[in-house]
Homo-oligomer: 330 residues x 2
């Protein structure tokens, strides 16, 4: 038994990863509708041995499906999610637009399991999901007091255009051509950017606020105890996260390692440190390394995380959430 | 009046910056001896309109000079600094090898001013000096409780060979040639490395320990309250530092901005964020931006720093220190 589903924003980086994940696994989808706006409609994408045509979102009748993933901007969600819900189609919103319950499957799957259909659920930002999974794994051995996160995000944070921007700027510099920043307003190649996009009146960027707010929503004890800074590294894909936790009691590093090692969806890498390129890309686990306490503070726990933000951080969590919801329909 | 000086390790990235700084300014050097070991001896470098030959360190008589900068490894300092001191030549050690007093001129210049000559003084690591200068500037308006530093270091942290490694790896990847990591044991181009070199039994890298220990030595109140993580970004030059401070009282952001703006050696960049490439390279100021408090915690202060690690972080501080010492001889 299975139901028909839709992927809205199928041609974007995250949408494409969703389609791949739905294609690979045993996801209970009978038929899948790939949707996009404007220019992207009309393309075709492979799915279960066929080439599926991407259809125009504006013309789609959501009554045809029971579940739609929205891997789009918040504006598209605001316009089309109400239509989907009105047609009886549940929505999993990856945009961070703020409606519906936020669900991280390893933490609060019951929000999906108990939902009255149709429902709108939100999937966390990739980095929030990655940090969240690690915090769930550590819950048994660490009483968390505060958390400081410096997230080195990659060009993929800006979507396909971000990846193209970095590639083009890099080629311009290496070929001694004049640099022409377009999507990013300055040299991004071989440069660390201390800010992702514009900031609000308090100085926080939208992605910093999203990660902060989502982690506090998932872990209310972090309220007032969570520091988030997002940087943009000249790297194409992946999340590279530097975490420092303060705990109520001195950290038992052996217990931390054991808890990380035992967690589904996490791979502990010891005696070396993981990187996105070497370890995380295309993988279904968050790679965690550099487990160490502070120089002098035994209640400090430092971690280094490398993860495939698109596939693992966004895609896999959303797909798991979708599978939980579909159970209701069957 | 002026004295004769030597630069040991003159052909390295930091040594070269020292020679440039000594050449530019009104440093009271009569004659300068450029020294290096092995293959680098015999090269020539421009200084005050002449081409100076780099001499072999092993054959140098330190009695010829009153001051020597050591921009070398700790091993070279261990071998040659005692010879210099025995010949009446003071030493400024940039290697972090741990002997002598640590001096950050804006903080504790008296250690140089009161020194009995000849003396061995240590200059801090670039990132420690950069953070230290910012902390000195903030001392008037912030009572610091704890500090978390994520330092995105650049290829220059590994010296000239590091810069060459990143350039070669980048070219290999862009030209679809097989990647051949040499100095770094994995793909560094377009990849964030979560660790700089090997780590000790506690999991800290040497540069993390150096930055931590030097900052605690300069600011003893940070003992047990300082978290340091060093990453290696695929960037050629510069330090990009993400700082989060916790303070005793709610942060007065206007006072913080005013204090940073008023500090010599610091440029506050408002309404935008600084980067190494666009703002810091070749500059004599630390560029500070993204001054903001926490999302919910008014006692949290976040800062973003871009600095030319070689020229500003290492070079200028060492040269200032040298000028303080030379006053004694005149």
């Amino acid at each position: 038994m299975s139901v028909d589903i839709a992927v809205v924003g199928a041609t974007g980086l995250v949408g494409e990863a969703l389609v791949e994940l739905l294609d690979e696994g045993d996801f209970p989808a009978a038929d899948i509708h790939l949707l996009a706006s404007g220019e992207s409609a009309g393309k075709s994408m492979p799915f279960r041995g066929r080439n599926l045509r991407v259809r125009d979102l504006a013309a789609f009748d959501f009554a045809k499906v029971k579940l739609a993933f929205f891997a789009t901007t918040a504006e598209v969600v605001a316009e089309y999610a109400p239509r989907a819900l009105a047609s009886g189609c549940s929505v999993i919103d990856l945009s961070g637009s703020g409606e519906g319950s936020l669900v991280l499957p390893v933490l609060n799957a019951e929000s999906a399991e108990l939902a009255q259909l149709p429902v709108l659920l939100r999937a966390p930002a990739a980095a929030a999901a990655e940090v969240g999974e690690v915090l769930v794994a550590l819950a048994s051995c660490v009483e968390l007091r505060s958390l400081s996160l410096t997230a080195c995000l990659s060009a993929s944070q800006l979507g396909r255009e971000g990846v193209q921007e970095l590639a083009r700027q890099t080629a311009e510099l290496l070929n001694a051509r004049p640099l022409e920043p377009r999507l990013v307003d300055r040299q991004y190649a071989f440069n660390m950017l201390g800010q992702v996009g514009s900031v609000d009146a308090c100085g926080h960027s939208a992605i910093e606020r999203r990660i902060h707010d989502e982690l506090v929503e998932l872990f209310p004890g972090l309220s007032g105890q969570l520091q988030v800074s997002c940087l943009l590294a000249p790297v194409f894909f992946g999340d590279a996260l530097s975490l420092s936790l303060r705990t109520a009691e001195p950290v038992d590093l052996a217990a931390v390692r054991q808890a990380l090692d035992a967690a589904d969806g996490i791979e502990l890498i010891e005696d070396d440190y993981p990187t996105v390129i070497g370890d995380a890309l295309g993988q279904d686990e968050i790679k965690v390394g550099r487990v160490r306490s502070g120089f002098l503070d035994p209640c400090e726990l430092n971690l280094w995380i490398a993860s495939d933000n698109v596939r693992k951080g966004f895609g896999l969590n959303a797909v798991k959430l979708g599978a939980l919801l579909i159970k209701h329909y069957l």
